[in-house]
């Protein structure tokens, strides 16, 4: 029972990260059909914003020393700002380009961001001590769960509820949902395209910042590659969930997280190094089974 609870918490906290990432990618895809490959680099950028630029092995913590109450909004603002800035400077000019061109443009932007960080900080992973007291364990129903896992899951749930409320209850949320459903029609009915898209980028950037903070606290290191793996899985999750569907993205994120943890447990020992191969195999099976995704929005259906 306790082992089961442990597995459940592992799965939920890993799934939380993937779900937040998938949400950030799905939001932007919904409004402008852009698969944003720079998302992983937003995550890394937000984490490196905690440090002072130096190429030494030891991290010089700068912004990371601020009191939590200021630090969190600051990092979220940096994420949102970076994301909105990339919309204004780059993606705005690609509104009418085909998806492949936009995708490569976003990849090129991510490449620029990554190498910018490399130039300032070098490629060596640095250790950072961010809220390390959160790694202590708490006892829930007999199982010892790291406090951080509980917090990660709680934060994710809070974010999901807040975002749902925002999308369902406010005017901006309504506009965003309308734009995701049918962008042209929404514009005809008076939704301002720039405002909706910038809002989507801002929220997506904040989600990236949140992931960055959680990752940095979890691993205690800062690494240029840290956003990459989350971004890839998140990207897969948005497709499995049904491109453009926000609930689908979240569910698929949790599913992939759950599948990874579960396979780690149930696979025989000699097959464990190949775990990711099984996870990606499951991804292919899922795509064959439902090519449109688990929860495909109506607008995704191809019309003839």
């Amino acid at each position: 029972m306790t082992a089961l609870l442990q597995i459940l918490f592992d799965a939920l906290s890993l799934g939380s990260l993937y779900a937040l990432g998938a949400l950030g990618i799905a939001l932007i895809f919904g409004v402008m059909r852009l698969v944003n490959f720079a998302h992983g680099d937003y995550i890394a950028f937000c984490v490196f914003a905690l440090l002072w630029p130096s190429i030494d092995a030891a991290a010089i913590v700068f912004a990371g020393n601020l009191p939590t109450i200021i630090l969190i909004p600051l990092i979220l603002a940096i994420g949102a700002g970076l994301s909105v800035l990339s919309e204004i400077l780059v993606f705005r000019r690609f509104r009418n380009a085909n998806p492949a061109t936009m995708m490569i443009a976003s990849f090129a932007l991510g490449y620029v961001l990554k190498n910018f960080l490399l130039m300032l900080f070098s490629s060596r992973p640095k250790s950072i001590d961010l809220w390390s007291n959160l790694s202590q364990q708490v006892e829930i129903a007999g199982a010892r769960i790291p406090l951080l896992q509980v917090i990660t899951i709680t934060i994710t749930i809070v974010i999901l509820i807040a975002l749902t409320a925002f999308l369902k209850r406010t005017r901006f949320g309504l506009e965003m949902r309308a734009a995701a459903e049918n962008f042209t029609m929404a514009r005809m009915l008076g939704v301002k395209a720039n405002r909706v898209i910038m809002l989507a980028f801002a929220i997506s950037g904040m989600l990236a910042a949140a992931i960055g903070l959680i990752l940095a606290t979890q691993s205690g290191t800062v690494d240029i590659q840290m956003g990459m793996s989350v971004m890839l899985v998140a990207f897969i999750a948005t497709v499995i969930g049904g491109l453009g569907s926000l609930p689908g993205a979240v569910i698929a994120g949790f599913l992939i997280g759950g599948a990874s943890v579960l396979m780690q447990v149930i696979l025989p020992l000699e097959a464990r190094p190949f775990r990711d191969a099984f996870v990606y195999g499951a991804v292919i099976a899922c795509l064959i089974w439902r090519p449109q995704g688990l929860l495909a929005p109506k607008s995704a259906k191809q019309r003839v």
Binding site: A100, M228, I284, P291
Partner: protein
């Protein structure tokens, strides 16, 4: 038949021009006689093979594939299995079956077999994957790449795990690489004017109309997928003989993105775009490397700071795409006529 020959006559100039450009680059490089520069050009020719290989599938079918570098991985490792001396294989790759350990094939035969192995893999996987289209197909090919990478990174006794396998004979020089690049361009050209290639292009532009005219899109896609896998498998083998070392991460995300970027920057729906994309991007990278090393200007050396090269190449790609969203060649082929160049099969 009459129509076929006229299509050949109308489009053959593209093939000739592209081959001439490649030969010219090789000859100029030889005349310059700089060893490091020659290695850069060899690498560029291998990239031409890779990008044109991707183009055979992506350009003709319109489905973006993130998975083709998996075939490069298969090809490069197959070349390692076929050509490393038996004594070394017994030590470094003890898990190989006996007949593989004891055979050591000539390089061209081994490269051909490496391509066949990649093609066979593509045939099996493609039968499932080619049923998907659009972004779902892209993700599925990416998942395929990830599976290949995980397997080759962890199957230690056969692939040496994440470490590198050394001992692959050095062979690929500038003429081999040039030959490979020309061969691949010819294959791509013949495929795109073949019945299957034209049907696939029709399916790319108007899926419903093409299907209504009797085009079996899944089948044509599978043909293109297998041909491109063969080409990339051979390119992987030549790459192995160029570096003398293989390791699985050389065939993962980095090379996937750089080759796709070259294709899109060049213009992903035309063969000329695939070739020109490689030449232009490689040219810019080389130029920036020289600048990074420093240019001698009247006694003072001007150099751009380290790391700026990568940033600049990213920015250049963004700017090119901003002004030419459909690529440098605007998805057209280069032909003799400078004005009103013919669009491919449109």
């Amino acid at each position: 038949m009459a129509q076929r020959s006229s299509l050949l006559a109308r489009t053959i100039s593209t093939l000739i021009i592209l081959i001439l450009i490649l030969v010219a680059i090789a000859v100029v490089t030889k005349l310059l006689g700089s060893r490091p520069f020659e290695r850069t050009v060899v690498e560029m020719f291998i990239r031409v093979m890779l990008v044109v290989g991707i183009y055979i599938f992506v350009g003709n079918s319109g489905v973006i594939s993130f998975g083709h570098m998996g075939f490069m991985c298969i090809g490069a490792y197959a070349a390692a299995w076929f050509t490393i001396p038996a004594v070394m294989k017994q030590v470094s790759l003890p898990g190989l079956p006996n007949f593989l350990i004891n055979t050591q094939l000539p390089i061209f035969l081994s490269a051909f077999l490496a391509g066949l192995l990649a093609a066979l893999f593509a045939l099996i996987v493609g039968r499932i994957l080619m049923r998907l289209s659009g972004i779902a197909a892209s993700i599925a090919t990416f998942a395929m790449l990830a599976v290949i990478n995980v397997v080759y990174s962890n199957w230690d006794s056969v692939t040496g795990g994440t470490g590198s396998i050394v001992g692959i004979p050095f062979y690929t020089g500038i003429w081999t690489a040039l030959g490979g690049a020309i061969l691949v361009v010819i294959i791509a050209y013949l495929y795109q004017i073949s019945r299957s290639g034209l049907a696939l292009r029709a399916g790319r532009d108007e899926a419903t109309a093409a299907a209504a005219s009797g085009v079996n899109i899944v089948r044509e896609r599978l043909i293109a997928f297998v041909i491109s896998a063969f080409v990339i498998g051979v390119a992987g083998a030549l790459y192995g003989h160029f570096l003398g070392v293989v390791n699985p991460d050389a065939f993962y995300l980095g090379v996937t993105f750089i080759t796709l970027s070259m294709l899109v920057v060049g213009g992903m729906n035309s063969l000329s775009g695939a070739v020109m994309g490689v030449i232009v991007i490689s040219g810019i990278i080389q130029l920036l490397r020289w600048l990074e090393k420093g240019v001698d200007l009247g006694g003072t050396t001007l150099a751009i700071p380290n790391g700026l090269q990568e940033i600049t190449i990213g920015l250049v790609m963004i700017v090119i795409l901003m002004f030419r969203p459909s690529g440098l060649t605007r998805n057209r082929e280069i032909t003799w006529r400078f004005k009103g160049a013919t669009k491919p099969s449109e």
